[in-house]
Symmetry: C2
Subunit: 206 residues, 2 copies
DNA sequence: GTGCAGGGCCGCAATTTTGCAGTTGTGTAA
DNA sequence: TTACACAACTGCAAAATTGCGGCCCTGCAC
């Protein structure tokens, strides 16, 4: 038996996918307002209560969003002593990706294109992403000798808040930019553009 | 939603059936000794431990046997004050039936015909059936005015033991008789014959 | 307005499933 | 014979699921 995942983890993944699939499909068919959490649960063959064990809101299920997380391997690679902006940018991209569960074959895209009202929910998730990344950066700064000087004058929390805001600016920019054409390609292009823009702007404003 | 059964009960029934099905099918394909409980569980998509939450032994799963039980409605109809032998006979048939879970479309018959070694397990279950019926009869006798006299000279447990033995004789007889041709028809015919035989013998031996 | 039903969502206790670490018995290679 | 793998089966604690009562909000009939 190929068991990269335990039976428990495999079933958890399956249930998550079943709920997201059901939510997305039913939404595509009837629109988000004419779908009940109960119907989604029934379609996924679990109880209505279990639905809320997996998703905080109906919209999260429709979009297939999950709380951001960082793999230990990634964490090990993260260093604050050089190229911090670059590091934080990469981390943000990675963590945003971690909020989008399921394989690439999700119905998310179709749903977002069909019902743009749902789009706002992704911004809410970006806040969670930033929070998580801030925690990581804060920890890095606290432990770093290089940052000791600055950390003496400002709280590490405030330093990382500012850094994450700057590093996250391209993503916020890209999210607004690609709002009306939310394909994967568009998002990626928008982010690339925004990154370049940041690089040009930064030297000019100090 | 048609919910005669709660979601919980429905899933429990499904899992039971999935395990029995997997056990029977794998046995038909490979023989009972070359099937592991682990393989059965995997086929039914549950853990190895869960298998034993449903069945006490591998053979029980193959045969689809479950502990005997009596519906409350049946219990209400059971009276010890008249035609006791008849009543107990009926009850025995009913309770034996209750040990055979699943719909009629079970692979049980095929398995038993293919691997007669498994047959013995059904005798073990008949003991459980008798025990359960004895308890019912004992309770009836204890509460009955008609039996007060006899119950004064013998313990109610002993009285019911004897009655159940007599009432169960045809079933034991039939089980031996139909051992080599265990189809439903054969079993039923054997039981009918045995019942008639009992009725003829009884008056002669007092 | 006022009541009321419907639906999102949460807390909690009961039930079920899982993982894991045994124990036991049996076949079998050394 | 000994050693050992394998498979049936069990106890127990952690995790997942379920049922249920309840809160809050919104829309809709009256």
């Amino acid at each position: 038996m190929s068991q990269l995942l335990s039976l428990r983890d495999r079933k958890r993944t399956e249930t998550w996918a079943a709920l997201h699939e059901a939510a997305a499909r039913l939404t595509l068919e009837n629109g988000p307002d004419r779908v009940t959490t109960e119907a989604i649960a029934a379609q996924a063959n679990v109880s209505a209560r279990t639905f809320f064990n997996y998703f905080g809101t109906k919209e999260d299920a429709i979009l297939g969003l999950q709380d951001p997380s960082i793999d230990d391997a990634w964490l090990a690679d993260f260093k604050v002593d050089a190229n911090l902006l670059e590091q934080v940018s990469r981390l943000l991209v990675y963590v945003v990706h971690s909020t989008e569960g399921g394989d690439g074959e999700s119905l998310r895209m179709e749903v977002v294109q069909q019902f743009p009202q749902l789009r706002q929910r992704r911004f809410a998730y970006f806040l969670k992403v930033e929070q998580l990344v801030r925690d990581v950066v804060t920890a890095g700064i606290t432990d770093s000798a290089k940052w000791a000087d600055v950390a003496h004058q400002h709280r590490a929390e405030d330093i990382s808040r500012m850094i994450v805001l700057i590093a996250g600016a391209p993503m916020r920019y890209a999210m607004q930019e690609s709002a009306h054409a939310p394909t994967l390609d568009n998002q990626f292009a928008a982010l690339t553009t925004a990154n370049a823009l940041l690089r040009e702007v930064l030297p000019e404003i100090q």
